[in-house]
């Protein structure tokens, strides 16, 4: 796992400043979505060998939620973005 994370707001910071929430799951379903869709969103997670997108919180830094794309095999982090861009840019 990364020892240093390049926070888009704070620059290169040690991993210990971050808290990991887990995989970026499906987008939060609409209020009218059926129970199965909600079940997927709340409970089902992948455990891939390779690229993985995760929510990381810069909890001891700027307190922004980030989406980090890292390779679970090579530990290479290919991308770190502010999590708000997932929705505002429709990047999901």
């Amino acid at each position: 796992m990364s020892s240093l994370v390049k926070c888009p707001h704070c620059g290169l910071r040690p991993r210990e400043e971050f808290t990991i929430r887990g995989e970026v799951a499906t987008p939060r379903p609409s209020a009218g979505a059926d129970e199965a869709t909600w079940f997927d969103h709340v409970y089902l997670r992948d455990n891939p060998r390779g690229e993985h997108r995760e929510y990381w919180h810069h909890s001891s830094g700027c307190r922004r939620w980030l989406v980090l794309t890292r390779n679970t095999l090579t530990h290479e982090t290919s991308d770190v973005v502010d999590a708000s861009t997932l929705k505002t840019e429709g990047a999901q």
Partner: protein, 991 residues
């Protein structure tokens, strides 16, 4: 006793005599000695006993790989077990003890294990202790526990101070031998920020053992010049006694610097770290870790007096210690012949050089008899070597009397750090060793680890490596060179791999520390454990504290030879941190004792302490739990009085630890409406509302009040326990789920001192310090707004909310004013009989009132389970947890739900956690009706009361049940009741 100290020794200072004890015996050595070199100088060849067979063992190496000479050094809290004598520097007053022997190292009862050898072979753990099963707990386990481990840790706390630091550099050079020194000089001269780290007490690595001259200069003078120039470069940081033990992702390296471990106690500066744990962030790395000389696996190769040929040379040249009076060498390569020359130059007799190669192509012009095509197959001697048995190429045996044997089976590059990130080393037939993996991002190997031999070649390679590494950073540099030194021509002198002497007599050890012999590895193969990782676990080869530094490659060679494949096909086991053992002290750093976690004090801590509070740790917080008065000897005396005071007069309680979050923004109301399950959109300015937050899975997460202090400005409180969690959750909602909402938030927990003033007289007390009208009409229940205090001198925030069920307020003032405001309230409240109360009384009163906390909000309850199902909005389109809260299992009316419980007989007591059963039912999970979540003695009612989650609870009020305590084995008859024991009509709240 014979002294083995002779002339010379570039590292030692003969004017600096240092006394030490070894197993109680007083010995002496010199400044610059290691414990190992001084023991050898004193003729101590036998220093320890092996782990399994308790065989006598001596010093094998002169460095970090030492498998045998593990000693316990120091005493009391400064006692370090399993310390390698080869790395421990000698200081005056040092106390060293042998391990794993009883009653002493010379006569060890455990050596009888040697007779059990056939029972203790490979996999004996899995075979010997299998049956009878009943023997496990009583016989085998205690036996194994007693035998396990080597040295014993101290029970005393370590008085030393430890710390952790970060360091950053352009180029990290790991190892300060000729290659590392050249790399550091090259980069240092080019102006790069360089850190050069070496595990030794002195820089130099292989140069230290070099007795001869380099070019026209003595070797130590050359080394002195190099180190001198490095010291003069301000951009080069030299870290001696620093082991880089791990390579982590993103070019972060773990290193431990032994700052004061080499000092006698009276010289230790208590304000300086004993050891320092470094994390070094390096843009580029030059790996110059050198190569480990390999032992040869032959019969009796573990007898004290058998030593690596290179180590002999180090002891001779650096420490002025003779390995013996009559020495033989057993080597399959030419570097070992240098040891013979150096020994002879000091007048030590070299009895023979046994070389398994039939016609070695070497330039040896010494006096020793060269026995080519031969091998050592056995040694003799009770506690130290007396003779060796040589098997000639014609099959005949010859016994040669010696008191030391130097061994060299080739060189294993120290590739660990190049492999920690998953790289696999690459076998090289030419070098007869595993080389560093080729694609190591940002890391360049050079010198002996890259297969180079000889000072000049290593130095040149180090310079080249630095030039290459710096070029990656866009820095031009010129490789440093050693003036006047010609690089020796490469000569066709191939080393001949020898993994095991087949004609060995007696045990031929591969792993000295774990007592793994060649026969164990072959047994493992016969039993099917021939994969390198399986063979390791089955035989324990490479699993000791030395992690197989001297044994792994030989074990791989034996596996390969027996399978008829190349060692490259067998491959290595996985390299993981740490390279060498790191003390717990260094890993713990400053996080011990009171510094284990930060202490978080309320802004009212001093006020509470002055009023005699007893504090309780809740997470990092110290909360005042009760305030004993004179004559109160039992905590409940104080708690009962505090409760009675609040119920009849007035009390003051510190509630500053509750989480406080300021929320702003045009969409703040909409946002709150989505994070709480109940409605918040229309909360008017000046009002507080109790809110329940769900998790997305529909269960309750946290509760608290949120007040609207102004348009687009809200003030939220959370429970103490989840203050951080709720803020994180709120940030996730705002940033990830609804970034389109205009809302911002910040924690204000530490900015406000907040106190609850509760009791029928609370308004009378507060009226004395609050300028505004706070009558019931002007400031009704759930009013919340800024108020003027002390004649306009201070502004505070007043909330009419109640956890106790009494007429109550919470007043928040800026943290710095907290104590003086609390003092003022105590002063004006005196006439009303005010008393401080703590979290215990708070807890009693909330149970009396039927209010829930995280004892009830335990992650498995819904609002309906807590009797607050009606709060969950059915009108809102969306809020966190809305859909999942409607799941079939969560709306089942028979779910365990909140109910009060009390004993049928007022004198009976019961405990939290007790389970509820119907009268007459057997105790079984199927009959379980629920359990008690909270209980206390109610001073208001005069008997025990509790809250419970019981199936169909609210509809069973008045029912008689059995309260079963399985731990205590007791049952009590209880009655289910309304959870609001006090003022169920809420008349007091609105008074």
């Amino acid at each position: 006793m014979t002294s083995f100290r002779i002339d010379g020794g570039t590292l030692i200072d003969r004017h600096d005599v240092r006394r030490f004890t070894f197993n109680g015996e007083v010995l002496s050595g010199f400044g610059g000695d290691t414990v190992a070199s001084s023991l050898l100088a004193n003729g101590k060849q036998l220093v320890g006993r092996s782990f399994k067979y308790h065989r006598p063992r001596g010093i094998l190496t002169a460095g970090a790989a030492e498998p045998n000479a593990l000693l316990t050094i120091g005493r009391d809290g400064r006692r370090d077990p399993n310390t390698r004598a080869t790395m421990a520097e000698l200081f005056d007053g040092l106390e060293a003890r042998s391990q794993n022997c009883w009653p002493n190292v010379n006569f060890d009862i455990g050596a009888a294990n040697g007779l059990l050898g056939p029972l203790l072979g490979a996999g004996f753990y899995y075979k010997t202790f299998m049956w009878p099963a009943a023997f496990w707990e009583k016989v085998y386990e205690p036996l194994i526990r007693k035998a396990a481990g080597l040295g014993r840790a101290s029970y005393d706390p370590d008085p030393g101070y430890y710390e952790k630091c970060w360091a950053h550099c352009d180029l990290l050079v790991i190892g300060a031998g000729p290659a590392g020194l050249a790399a550091a000089l090259t980069a240092g001269r080019a102006g790069a920020r360089v850190i050069i780290a070496d595990e030794g007490a002195q820089l130099g690595g292989g140069l230290i053992a070099e007795g001869s001259s380099i070019g026209s200069k003595p070797a130590d003078a050359v080394l002195g010049d190099l180190v001198g120039e490095l010291h003069a470069l301000p951009n080069v940081e030299i870290k001696k006694r620093t082991t880089v033990f791990a390579a982590y992702d993103d070019q972060v390296f773990g290193a431990v610097e032994r700052v004061q471990k080499h000092l006698p106690e009276h010289e230790i500066n208590p304000h300086r770290a004993m050891e320092r744990l470094w994390r070094i962030v390096a843009r580029q790395v030059v790996l110059a870790t050198g190569a480990e000389e390999r032992p040869i696996v032959f019969g009796g190769n573990d007898r004290p007096g058998v030593m690596m040929a290179g180590a002999m040379r180090t002891y001779l040249n650096a420490y002025g210690v003779a390995p013996g009076k009559r020495v033989a060498l057993f080597a399959n390569n030419s570097q070992a012949y240098q040891t013979a020359l150096d020994l002879e130059a000091r007048g030590i007799e070299v009895a023979a050089i046994i070389d398994p190669r039939t016609c070695p192509n070497i330039d040896y012009d010494g006096k020793a008899r060269l026995i080519a095509g031969a091998m050592v197959r056995d040694t003799s001697g009770r506690r130290a070597i007396k003779s060796i048995t040589v098997r000639h190429d014609d099959g005949s045996d010859e016994v040669i009397a010696v008191d030391a044997l130097g061994v060299s089976g080739g060189y294993s590059p120290i590739v660990h750090l190049a492999c920690h990130r998953g790289g696999k080393p690459v076998w090289s037939d030419a070098h007869v060793g595993f080389m560093p993996p080729e694609n190591t991002d940002g890391m360049t190997s050079c010198g002996a680890v890259a297969g180079k031999t000889g000072i000049a070649a290593c130095f040149a390679d180090g310079g080249t490596a630095a030039v290459k590494a710096l070029a990656e950073l866009g820095v031009m540099s010129e490789a440093a060179s050693l003036p006047g030194v010609e690089q020796a021509e490469e000569k066709a002198d191939p080393i001949q791999p020898i993994w095991r002497v087949a004609s060995s007599k007696g045990k031929a050890f591969v792993d000295y520390q774990n007592d793994v012999a060649a026969s164990d590895i072959m047994l493992a193969m016969r039993e099917g454990y021939d994969h390198v990782e399986l063979a390791k676990r089955y035989t324990t080869n490479g699993m000791a504290t030395d992690q197989g530094k001297t044994s792994n490659v030989n074990a791989i060679g034996i596996l390969a030879e027996n399978k008829g494949v190349s060692p490259g096909e067998i491959g290595t086991t996985t390299f993981r941190p740490f390279y060498t053992p790191v003390s717990f002290g260094a890993l713990v750093g400053a996080s011990k004792g009171m510094d284990f976690q930060p202490v978080r004090k309320s802004p009212l801590h001093g006020w509470a302490a002055r009023n005699g509070a007893k504090f309780v740790e809740t997470g990092p917080w110290y909360r005042s739990s009760w305030f004993p008065k004179d004559g109160e000897t039992f905590w409940r005396d104080s708690v009962d009085r505090e409760v009675n005071t609040v119920r009849t007069k007035v009390g003051i309680c510190d509630v500053s630890t509750l989480g406080k979050i300021e929320i702003f923004g045009a969409d703040a109301a909409e946002y709150l409406n989505r994070v709480y399950c109940n409605a918040f959109l229309k909360l008017p300015v000046g009002k507080a509302r109790y809110g329940i937050m769900l998790r997305e899975d529909g269960f309750v997460y946290d509760d608290g009040t949120t007040s609207c202090l102004g348009e687009n400005h809200y003030f939220m409180t959370t429970t103490t326990a989840l203050a951080a969690g709720v803020l994180t959750h709120l940030e996730f909602c705002a940033q990830v789920l609804w970034p389109e909402l205009d809302v911002r938030m910040a924690s204000a927990t530490d900015q406000w001192a907040q106190m609850a003033i509760a009791g029928p007289k609370s308004r009378d007390v507060l009226s004395k310090i609050i300028d505004d009208d706070i009558s019931n009409e002007a400031f009704p229940f759930l009013a919340a707004r800024e108020v003027s205090m002390f004649g306009g001198r201070l502004k505070g925030r007043l909330f009419r909310i109640s956890f106790s069920g009494e007429l109550a307020y919470e007043i928040a003032v800026p943290a710095g004013y907290g104590e003086s405001v609390a003092d003022a309230i105590m002063a004006v409240g005196e006439e009303f009989g005010i008393a401080p109360y703590g979290t215990e009384a708070l807890g009693v009163m909330r149970i009396e009132k039927g209010h829930v906390t995280h004892a009830e909000i335990n992650g498995t309850v819904t609002p309906a389970d807590l009797g607050m199902g009606k709060m969950v909005s059915v009108n809102k389109d969306d809020f966190i947890g809305r859909v999942m809260n409607l799941r079939e299992g969560l709306v089942d009316p028979s779910r365990p739900s909140l109910v009060g419980i009390m004993p049928k007989s007022p004198s009976d007591k019961f405990a939290t956690g007790s389970h509820i059963l119907n009268p007459g039912d057997d105790v079984s999970l199927a009959n379980d009706q629920g359990y008690v979540t909270s209980m206390c003695h109610s001073p208001t009612l005069g008997h025990a009361i509790g809250l419970a989650l019981v199936k169909n609870g609210p509809s069973r009020v008045g029912e008689e049940v059995v309260i079963w305590n399985g731990l205590a084995g007791t049952t009590v008859t209880g009655i289910l009741c309304n959870p609001a024991f006090v003022d169920p009509e809420n008349e007091k709240l609105h008074a």
